[in-house]
């Protein structure tokens, strides 16, 4: 917190709890003990006679004050004639004079109709929400951590209008994709918002390893996005700055919005406080492909080994010699029956999270120390993820006008094994979708024929799934430190100077092992990858605040220097001398090695003015200039301004009893943006053989200019009926031009892609927050909140007459492409051939024809709605969050593969007599007649009816309704042994899913290296349903 809170007005109720504590703490800190007066005591209660603990009692005009205890009682030295000021957030401040009696009791009433609300804005500046001309939405600590997710970002889903969160299903450390107000960049990896923790940018990148989602020998492993690791229990609040005007002061990287996280501090405590929380959750697969139970392995109703397809004989118990069966080696036939229980491969995951924090508030400062750990085991056997996190947050006031703060977080994340993501010989779902239904998984559990050398696999082309789980190790060990030190000095009462230095430093060491005898690494493989990242930000901010009559003013100038350094190295050896030993020294071939070391510096200067006229008109003007080392020297400086207006008609016009507050806002902003290092000049890459170089696949460009995003936003905020109903509506338009992208060119030009400024993307959208307190009685409360998101991203133009830009490459030629006139997120692939009437055209062989490539849909939803409700009854509260997504498609590889392999129940039709597909055949004269050609079931399903490249046939309406979060908690009325609060909760997330998409979670995303591809499912692992309990203790 960089802004002193001295001008804070009493606030209305239902403010987030954190803010109450925050304010409280600040007041408390300012209080100096005074001695030698008579003690005055009393209790502070609410209108219902309930004690108000931790209310502030001060003597007007002095710094003397105390907090009430748990019974609402206080005692402080005062003299007769003093005026006591009783305050507590959410209640009307009350003043009482000290009379002859040494007892002064106060009854505080709800300050329901006072509407000042304070939010954290850019640069951590706290401002009255009414003064803001742009949209900001906040989440409280409770909203973030009530139901814990392993990935912080997943915990934001459905809670914010205009924000789309899509979690991937790639194992325990899965990344999550977060997009605010649609995708503005053609670079699919450039659409993440900026994450700020305590004023300092933190890294949310995904550092990939491995190839594409169908790279047989090198599938990627998902180690998670950077922000995933932030401990939700440590978060005091999250402020989401959605538009460019709100985030303009953060510069380039804030084009896609900013997530401003404030961590918990000791400001809310007087003396020592201890809080402990513990969550234990269990996870199981939410959706699994169904396995048919009627036909076993083979082809054409005969059993064959090594086929992988389940078009074999009926599982009727007849005696068949079956590969992998216990009696196989002795040539013993066994009954041909259904034995494959896919769910048996998975186990119940357990996640245990514990957090202890100690807070202390002292005369001249405060401190918070916290330790948290989380240990998770996955539904995939032999996978785990552990995080340990120590944080300190402290501030000290050496003088009344000087505050020094420090916030530091040390995070250690590690895993002994994470699964690979995608489709290929090393992928688990690959092995499981091609299994034979007559094969018992138990036949495969003992996966070594000869330890560390020869595996027991029933197919020559795929690894045993248990070998994959237990021997295909992808481990990591990551240390991360982020935090800041700052000094806030009031030079005069009007002029203050903030100096701040912060860093995010991490070192991630990863290693992978493949044993000898694995299908793609018969000689074994060992790989080490190290990713070092450091970002340092140095800031100053000089602010001058002075009211001039009816006009309140604040002028600030600031500067920032950003230094970024990424160093990645990789060594991989595809051969091991001694089986089972995984070290660099045991590599017996020339390993492939690479090193990347990249730096960037951005210097910035900015200035802004906050002007207010009376209580109804506010204007913010910002201007920022950046100089970036990543751009050509003649084009490395770029300037961008913003203006925002807030107008409160309710302050000047009579609007009737029901309207408490009405605000209109308008803003216009521009943000400039640079690019990554080294995009200007061509350098030669090291090639496969030692002593060799090659041209890069991408051609850099020395004439790049900064990217530019222009944004316009109008909005309305209103409260009705004593704040029982709250509405926040925003409409926006964003136009991004001059994007620096590497777009595919004709390979005959010598390069696969060329860097250039190009493209124009327009995003329009509506977001609406509607919140109602339906019931508010003494012991009963019921609230309902809806967060509605609707946006459309449109591709206006690409480079010159380029007709298509491939945003992401899926399997089998299925792509995400930007085409002028199309939408962002359009999926292209082959289609059925259809008659003008829409009937599917079949070939003579009875199989549908595969038609041209076309747009088969869009991965973005038509709209989304997060609906949450809270019911409180005495100490019992029930909370639920439902995520609704309407529209958009997902391309499912599980559907294509599971059909090919004959493992899905949808492949049962026609097994006996063949299939006549529903559609037509084209006659020689061009007319159509009904298809009557019968085709064998195996030919029909195996690459016939919906082959992989047929994007149309394998895409589904991705609409869903998800019971995202549910919690039932009980706050125990125990006030003993110093206990202030004890609550027990039953919690769960991703509990229920309703969708038309078969076999998979519609939120699944493919992963190519470090890129998440929404709208494409490439045999991802099942998503998980999580449920458990949580205990909170506060002393």
């Amino acid at each position: 917190m960089i802004q002193p809170l001295r001008s804070m007005k009493p606030t209305r109720p239902l403010l987030p709890l954190w803010l109450r504590y925050l304010l409280l703490g600040c007041f408390a800190m300012a209080l100096l003990p005074v001695y030698g007066q008579t003690p005055v005591s009393g209790t502070v209660t609410d209108a219902f006679g309930q004690p108000i603990p931790r209310a502030t009692v001060t003597i007007q005009g002095t710094r003397t004050g105390v907090l009430t205890d748990d019974t609402g009682a206080y005692k402080l030295p005062a003299t007769q004639g003093d005026t006591l000021v009783f305050s507590f957030i959410g209640y009307t401040t009350q003043k009482q004079a000290v009379g002859a009696e040494p007892v002064v009791n106060a009854v505080l009433t709800d300050s329901e109709y006072q509407l000042e609300e304070v939010v954290v804005t850019a640069l951590g500046i706290q401002r009255d929400k009414k003064a803001l001309g742009y949209s900001v939405q906040t989440l409280s600590a409770e909203q973030v951590s009530r139901v814990r997710s392993t990935n912080l970002v997943n915990g934001l889903s459905g809670k914010l209008a205009g924000v789309q969160v899509t979690g991937a299903n790639n194992g325990l450390a899965s990344s999550s994709r977060i997009i605010i107000r649609g995708e503005n960049s053609l670079n699919i990896n450039n659409n993440s918002p900026l994450f700020i923790v305590d004023g300092i940018p933190v890294n949310n990148s995904i550092y990939g390893i491995g190839g594409s989602s169908i790279d047989q020998s090198n599938l990627p492993t998902d180690y998670g996005n950077g922000a995933a690791e932030i401990n939700p229990d440590d978060i005091e609040s999250i402020s989401v700055l959605k538009g460019a005007a709100a985030s303009a002061l953060y510069g380039s990287r804030a084009t896609n919005g900013v997530i401003v996280i404030t961590t918990k501090s000791g400001k809310n405590t007087q003396g020592l406080g201890v809080s402990i929380s513990s969550t234990t959750m269990f996870s199981s697969p939410l959706v699994l492909p169904e396995v048919q139970t009627q036909y076993g392995g083979g082809w054409g109703r005969d059993y064959y080994a090594d086929y992988g397809t389940n078009f074999g004989p009926e599982l009727d118990g007849s005696m068949v010699l079956q590969d992998g069966s216990p009696g196989f080696d002795n040539g013993e036939a066994e009954p041909f029956v259904h034995r494959y229980q896919l769910e048996d491969f998975f186990q119940t995951g357990v996640s245990s999270n514990n957090q202890v924090s100690i807070t202390g508030g002292f005369e001249k400062g405060n401190i918070k120390l916290a330790y948290g750990n989380s240990y998770n085991t996955g539904i995939v056997p032999n996978t785990n993820l552990q995080r340990d996190n120590i944080s300190i947050n402290t501030s000290y006031r050496p003088a009344d006008n000087w505050t020094i703060s420090l916030s530091g977080n040390y995070l250690k994340s590690q895993s002994d094994n994470l699964p690979v993501a995608g489709y290929g010989g090393q992928g688990l779902m690959y092995a499981l979708l091609w299994n034979y239904t007559n094969v018992d998984l138990d036949w495969l559990r003992d996966y070594w024929l000869e330890t560390d050398r020869v595996q027991r696999n029933i197919f020559s082309w795929a690894d045993n799934p248990f070998l994959i789980a237990n021997e295909h190790i992808n481990a990591f060990n990551k240390d991360r430190l982020y935090g800041m030190v700052s000094s806030m000095y009031d030079i005069t009462p009007e002029l203050s100077l903030l100096l701040r230095m912060g860093t995010d430093y991490s070192n991630d060491f990863r290693w992978s092992r493949r044993p000898q005898g694995s299908v793609f690494h018969p000689n074994g493989m060992y790989r080490e990858q190290t990713i070092g990242y450091r970002e340092t930000n140095a800031d100053f901010l000089l602010s001058y605040t002075k009211p001039l009559g009816d006009v309140s003013t604040r002028f600030s100038v600031g500067g920032n220097r950003l230094d970024q350094h990424t160093a990645e190295s990789l060594i991989q050896g595809d051969g091991l001398a001694i089986p089972g030993i995984y070290t660099l020294g045991n590599i017996n071939v020339i390993p492939s090695m690479s090193r990347y070391d990249g730096r960037k510096r951005v210097n910035s200067l900015y200035a802004f003015a906050n002007l207010g006229y009376r209580d109804f008109l506010y204007m913010d003007i910002t201007a920022r200039n950046d100089w970036s080392s990543a751009l050509p020297s003649n084009n490395n400086s770029y300037f961008y301004p913003s203006v925002s207006l807030s107008f409160l008609p309710s302050e000047i016009f009579e609007m009737g009893e029901s309207v408490d507050y009405l605000k209109l806002r308008f803003n216009v902003a521009r943000v400039g943006k640079d690019t990554d290092p080294f995009q200007l000049y061509k350098t030669y890459q090291f090639a496969t053989l030692p002593n060799s170089l090659t041209n890069p696949g991408q051609l850099p460009n020395a004439n790049l200019v900064p990217e530019q995003t222009d944004a316009y936003e109008v909005g309305l905020e209103a409260y009705f009926w004593g704040k029982r109903l709250m509405v926040d509506l925003s409409l926006y338009q964003t136009i991004s031009t001059n994007q620096i992208i590497s777009f595919a060119v004709s390979q005959a030009a010598g390069f696969r892609s060329v860097f250039a400024n190009s493209g124009k993307i327009e995003n329009k959208g509506i977001e609406l927050v509607l919140s109602g307190l339906l019931v508010k009685k003494e012991h009963v409360e019921w609230s309902l909140t809806g967060n509605f998101t609707l946006y459309r991203g449109k591709v206006i133009e690409l480079y010159e007459d380029l007709e298509s830009y491939i945003i992401a490459q899926g399997p089998d030629g299925v792509t995400v492409e930007a085409r002028p006139g199309g939408r962002m997120g359009d999926i292209y692939g082959n289609t059925y051939v259809r008659t003008p009437q829409g009937e599917i055209v079949y070939a003579e062989n009875g199989l549908p024809l595969v038609g041209d490539r076309a747009n088969v849909g869009n991965y973005n939803p038509d709209w989304m709605l997060g609906l949450s409700t809270g019911i409180r009854f005495h100490g019992l509260s029930l909370y639920g969050l439902v995520d609704i997504r309407e529209g958009g498609i997902i391309y499912s590889y599980t559907h294509a593969i599971g059909t090919e392999s004959g493992i899905l129940p949808i492949t049962l039709g026609g097994r006996e007599d063949g299939i006549v597909g529903e559609g037509v055949v084209q006659n020689p004269d061009g007319s159509y007649s009904p298809n009557t050609n019968s085709v064998d079931a195996e030919d029909y399903y195996y690459g016939g009816v919906h082959p992989r490249q047929n994007a149309e046939a394998n895409s589904f309406d991705a609409s869903y309704v998800k019971l995202r979060e549910l919690s039932l908690s009980y706050s125990l009325p125990i006030r003993a042994i110093g206990l202030r609060d004890l609550s027990l909760s039953l919690v769960g997330n991703n509990l229920l899913l309703w969708t038309k998409v078969p076999f998979i979670d519609p939120e699944a995303q493919a992963m190519n290296g470090g890129t998440l591809i929404p709208g494409m499912e490439v045999t991802q692992l099942p998503s998980t349903r999580n449920y458990g309990f949580r205990v909170n203790l506060t002393f």
């Binding site: 020559s460 299908v519 100038v557 000049y681 350098t683 090639a687 053989l689 004709s746 005959a748 030009a749």
Partner: protein, 469 residues
Amino acid sequence: MKKFLYASFFTLILATAACTANFEEINTNLNQPLTVTGDLLLPTVIFDLADFSVNQSFGLGDIITQYHGHYEFNDLDIYRWTSDGSFWVLYNYLQNIRDIRQYGVENDLPGYEAVALVLEAYAFSQLTDAYGDVPYSQANQAESGIIAPAYDAQEVVYDGILASLERANQIIDEDAFVAGDILFGGDMTAWKKLANTLRVRLLMRISDVRDVSASLQQILDDPAAYPLFESTADDAIYRYQGSSPDLSPYSEGRGREYEYFLSIPTTRFVGLLQAHEDPRIHEWLGYKGGTTEYIGVEPGLDLGDIGRPTAYASKDSSFFYDPSKIAAIFITYSELNFLLAEAAMKGLISGDAKAFYDEGVAASFEQWGVEMPADFLTAKAPYDANNPDRLYEQKWLALYRTCTEAWFDWKRTGKPAFIQAGPGNINSNQVPVRLMYPSLEQSVNVSNYTTASQRIGGDNINTRVWWDK
């Protein structure tokens, strides 16, 4: 004083913030070199071309010329072909070749220029023989701003690459040298021979549409000026070392067993080898499991009619498990002799077709390390002037594993005649005669793609290229 302090503070801040003095240093990529020498690019080009040759040989050549057939994933076998970018990757190699050539020219090192010209001719010949019209004169000029190159008529491409080979032959002399030559170890004479041998191949390729007899005769008449391969020792074959990363894409350690054995010998291959009791069969193929029989699969069967691979012979497994056994064959002495035999037979050159044939067959046996039966050229498969198919059939065997050369040859000659569409084909019983352009061209190079497609008579697999009329 205070004002002065503030003023200084601001000046300092402004100066620091706007300071971009070391920006260029920060943005200098120290991970990779800005410039390059020919000796560092040459191994990359040869290795990439070797991989290309092996990949195309196993992935396409084996199937389209019916040495082998897939028992699964048989779209290729039944001609369910779509857009194909697999040869277009040569343009990436050509970028390195262009840089080698430029390095040679700029530094007056004719060895590099000559080697680059030979490799360039090879790469472009593969491209044009597969697709027909392809970008040539405007290719590889992204750095000059051409990102959507126009397609040249195949005839223009041929004129260009034949001229390149002629120039390469001219500028190679004893003083020339190259380093980084993992094909011939810097032996410039070997490159000179390769230039001329390749030229013979390409002249024969266009022999139906151009009179090439004078050019061929000129080469043959002046071995001093136009040296050709003189023995199998001259073969342009890249031999992988057999240890990662120097492994073929189909060898154990880099490729998957499954992919290697996915294609099985055809009745054509087994039949021809058995017809002449050709011992190369034992080198190339393995018996049907548990037997001492070679059973081939009929090419182009409907997938359902194939059954399991256990019913058939297989490819010899040692080529997979012995990591140094698969080699990348570009062009051989054996092929040269078959080319000359055909030329002599057709009267394009003076010379004894039989002698060339005999030498070609013998060289093939030598190349594969198989002892030729003494009566092979006299009794089992003697040259037969009345049966030209014999020559083409033996050439077909000799071209085994030589990229897709046998396909290009078949397109021109229609031989061996037994290459016919199989019963499961979906291409109206026609064997495809070209690849379809990569689908990306339809997105990023539309107008040039459209022009070229119309010019050649449609971008489909049955459009004949210029030399294949």
